[in-house]
Symmetry: C2
Subunit: 551 residues, 2 copies
Amino acid sequence: MAPNILFIMYDQLRFDYLSCAGHPTLETPSFDRVAARGVRFDRAYCQSPVCGASRMSTYTGRYVSSHGAAHNNFPLKVGEMTMGDHLRKAGMECWLIGKTHMKADAEGMARLGLSPDSVIGARVEECGFDVWIRDDGLWAEGPDGFYDRKRSPYNEYLKAKGYPSENPWHDNANAGITGAGDIASGFLMMHADKPANIREEDSETPWLTSRTIDFIEAQKGKGPWCAHVSFIKPHWPYIVPAPYHDMYGVDDIVPVVRSDAERRDPHPVYGAYMEGGVGTAFSRDEVRRTVIPAYMGLIKQCDDQLGRLLDYLDDTGQADDTVIVLTSDHGDYLGDHWMGEKDMFHDPSARVPLIISDPRPSADSRRGTVCDKLVEQIDLAATFVEMAGGEVPRHILEGRSLVPLLEGKDTAWRNFAISEYDFSTSGAASRLGLAPKDCRLFMVVTDRWKMTHAEGGFRPMLFDLQNDPDELVDLGASGDHAEVISALYDKLFHWARRQSHRTTISDAQIEARRKGGSARVGILLGLFGDEDIPPDYLTAYSGKATSVDQT
Amino acid sequence: MAPNILFIMYDQLRFDYLSCAGHPTLETPSFDRVAARGVRFDRAYCQSPVCGASRMSTYTGRYVSSHGAAHNNFPLKVGEMTMGDHLRKAGMECWLIGKTHMKADAEGMARLGLSPDSVIGARVEECGFDVWIRDDGLWAEGPDGFYDRKRSPYNEYLKAKGYPSENPWHDNANAGITGAGDIASGFLMMHADKPANIREEDSETPWLTSRTIDFIEAQKGKGPWCAHVSFIKPHWPYIVPAPYHDMYGVDDIVPVVRSDAERRDPHPVYGAYMEGGVGTAFSRDEVRRTVIPAYMGLIKQCDDQLGRLLDYLDDTGQADDTVIVLTSDHGDYLGDHWMGEKDMFHDPSARVPLIISDPRPSADSRRGTVCDKLVEQIDLAATFVEMAGGEVPRHILEGRSLVPLLEGKDTAWRNFAISEYDFSTSGAASRLGLAPKDCRLFMVVTDRWKMTHAEGGFRPMLFDLQNDPDELVDLGASGDHAEVISALYDKLFHWARRQSHRTTISDAQIEARRKGGSARVGILLGLFGDEDIPPDYLTAYSGKATSVDQT
C-alpha cells in the first residue's frame, strides 16, 4: 500500500534559515529531525519567486509559462490538471489544509457550466484539492475592502474563542499594542518587535497544526492520502506572539549580503526593484534589525509546531506510513541585495528549502544525506504520483520524480533549472514604462552559473556561483563571458521549445500509432495499383460495382 | 450591424492551383470573382501542414505549440477556446457545415463532467461550433474497422437517394468501375482517371454546397452568423465524377518542381519522407500523370459549386451583407520535391490560398488587390472577432486581425511567420528512430528566407526564396549562411518565449492593477512607521486595542 504524504509548505521561508541548512543562530531541531530521517535537497528552486505563480507550478507540476497563472490572482485556467487530479487517478485522496493562493477561472468555469457547488466544480475552483480547511491567511483590509473576500475559518475560530475584534486575524494575530494602548499593526514593520496580542496557542501556526492533527485523526482506517498542509508563516506581517517575539535579538542576525557596487549601474529591472518602497525599506538597518528577529521567531514557532506534529505521528505509530515533505514557495530577501520580499532570482528569493523523508526501507540508504542536484518545485507532483503508485504522466507533468534520488539510484538528471517571473502588475513595471508582455524574467541556473534573461530589450544578468556565491558581481555585461551567456541562452531556447501542451496523448499512445494505425482503419496512402495493397486491407474496398445511372 | 461571414475551407488545396494565383491551365473563375471583389493574400501560411493541427490552430487562433493538438486525432484539450466561443461572446453565432477533423478530449470532458449531450458539452466536443452538418469525409474502412466512427450525414444522404452500397461514400463518391465491373477504389491512384460511380450532383462538393444554401435560407431574419463551410475536396481519394474526370489531361499538368540534387545528402527528416511510400509513389511520373488531372478536376468542381453559391448570394441580395473567406488547411506536394501529400514546409505544402472579400465600403480601396504581407491562418479568428464587432482578446488569440490590411490601413506587421509539424506518429519517425519529443519541426519564414529547425540534433534547412523561389537548394549546411541562420534562430527563440498561456487576464486588467490595486485592499508593503502610511489606508488597522490575557 502507498504511504500517506504530508506535504507541508511554509510561506516565504528562506532556504538558509534552518540550522540543518547552516543558519548559525537559529536552531530548528524539528526540521533537522526530518532532514536526519530523509534527504535535504540543497539546490531546489521555485518556478517563480511569488506565492501564486510558484504554487500553481508546484500544484500543476508545470512551468509558469505552461499554466499561465503568472502572478498572484491571475486565475488558473480551467482545464489545467493538478496533483489532486493525478493523485485521485492513482487512487490517493488529496486534501488541502491551509493556503493555496488559488484564484479560480470564474469566466472559464461559467463558460463550461461548472458550478462551485458541485464536487467537480469545487475541485476546479480549489486547484484540484478537496478542502479540509482553506485559509490563505491574508485578511488584509483597505479603502476598497478586503483583499480576500472568502470566509476565513481562522477568523471564525478566533471569534468563537472570544476574541472581540471584527478582524482578529489582523488585530490579534498580526498586531501588537502600542504604549498608548492602540492597535500596533504588523503591517507597520516598526511593530515587529512587539508580541502579537494573542494567546500563542491561538496564533496561526498552532491553529493550523491542530487542524492537521484533526485531519489525520479523521483519516484513521481510510486509504492513503496526501495532505497539503500550507502555513502562511513566516510570511509577513512580521509579528509573532510571546515568547517568540523576543527570542532573538540584533546579535542573532546574520550579516547583510550586499555591496555598493550593486547599486552602480544595475540591470534596469533590478534597479527598478531596488528603488521601490520595499527595497528602500529593507535597505535601512533599522528595518532589518526590527524585522529579522521577528522573522526568526516565526520560524522558531513553525519548528516547535512541526515538532508537535512529528511527536504526534511517532506517538500514534503513523510515522512509518507517512512521507514528510517540508518546503516553501519562495524565500525572502530581508535586505540582502538591497531588496525585500522576493521578485527576483538571487538565492534568498528563488531558492527554497526542501526536505523529504520517506519512511520506506527503499529510502534507507540516503537517510540524513544532502542532495545537491538541481531540483525544481514542479518535481513534487511527479514524486507524489510515483509514491502513490501511479504512472507519471510525463506528457502533462513537466517535473521529474525525485524518488530515484531519495533511493540513491543512479539516474541522469537535468543540468539546468528554470524559474520565471512576471512583474507586469508591479510598480517596477510602471517605473520602467514596460508593456505587460515585456515584463517577464527567466532564470537559467546550472551548477556554476545563474543567468536572468529579461524581455524588453535588456541585457541579461549573470552570476558566477563558484567564484561569487553571494551573487554580488553581475557579469551580464561582461564581454569575457559572452560564450557562457550564449551557452545559457541555448539552454533557455531549448527549454522554450519544449513540448508542454500535447497533454491529451502520451508517448506510449504515439508510439503505438506508428504501427500503421491509420492504415488499419482504411487510410491507404501512396498506393497506385492493386499490387501495392496488402490483401487483407482490400476487403472493404473490393467487390462488384453497381453502376449508377448518371443521366 | 455586423456582416455575416462565410468562411469556406477546401481541404488540401494548393495555393497555386487557382487561375488568380497564376495557374496556367486551370481556370477558376469563381475564386477569381471573389479575388476581384476582395483581397488575395499571396503569402499565407498554415500553422501546421496537416489537417488536424492546422485546423485546430485556425479554429483556436493559436499556434500548435499553444493548443497542443499537434497532429490528426490528437485531442484538443478541454479549456481551449475557439472562434465559436469568441464570436458568441461578440454576439455572432458560429456554425459548422462540413469537416473539422476535431477529436474531442473525452478524458478531459469526463473529468469535468461535461456531457456531449448538453449544449456546452456539444460545443466543447465540436471545437466550439454549433453543428449544422458535421461530416469529415473520411469514411475509410480497414481490417480494424472505420477510421471515423461517428455517423456520416453524407452516407445517409446517399443511401436515402437509393445508392445501394453499405458505404456509398467509398463505393460511389470515391470509386469508379474497372473494366471487369469491379469497384475501382479511389485509394488506388491508378483509378484516378476514371469517373466516380456517382451522379455529379450527389458527389461531396455539390452536396455540401446544397447544405450551405439550406443553412443560409434558414437564417433569414436572424442575427449575424459565421458559417464554417468546410469541404473535404480536393483532398484524396483523388477521383471525381464526370464530366470533371477527363476535363484535364497530361498536357495541362505544370512541370514538376524537383532536382536530383535534392536527393543527394538531404536533411535527414526530409530524406526519411522522400523514402516513404507516399514520396516514392509521387516521384513516379505515372502517378503524377494519373493523379494531377483528377486533382484539377476536383478543384474545377469546387470552383463551379462556389459559383453556384456566389450566384445564390447575389440573386437573393445577400452578397452585400456577407464576407466571403476562401482558404485551405494546407497544400499538396503532388510530386514536387519528390514528395506527395504534405508534412513539410516547402510552399506546395505549407503555403495556403487565402482570399477575403468584405462587401462593406470600408474595404473598397483594396478590392481586386493582392497583399504580400506574411499572413498566418491564426489571423482569421482575430479577423472574424473584429468583423463581429467584438474586442479581440489578444491575451488568448495569437493571430492578428486582417481587417486593417483589407481596408488598406498603414499598419506595422509581423516580419516572420511560423509553422510547426509533429511527425511523431509517422513512418519517417520510425525510420529515423526518434523519440516522440524529437519529432518536431519549426518553420520560420521571412520575406526572403525560409528555415526549418528540427529537434533531435539535426542541422536546419534553409532556402533563399529570392534567388531560389522553387526551394531547390538547401543552404542549411552552408557556412556562408551562418549569420542568416543565426538571425532566423533569434526569431524562433523570440517566438518560443512568447506569452501564450496567460489567457485568464488581459493586458488592460494588468495595467489597471498597476495603480496600487493590492494596497487599496490592505496589502501594505515596505512600510515601517506611521509616517509611511497614507491616512485613508489606516482605517482598518487602527483604534484601541483590547489586550488579550496570554496566560
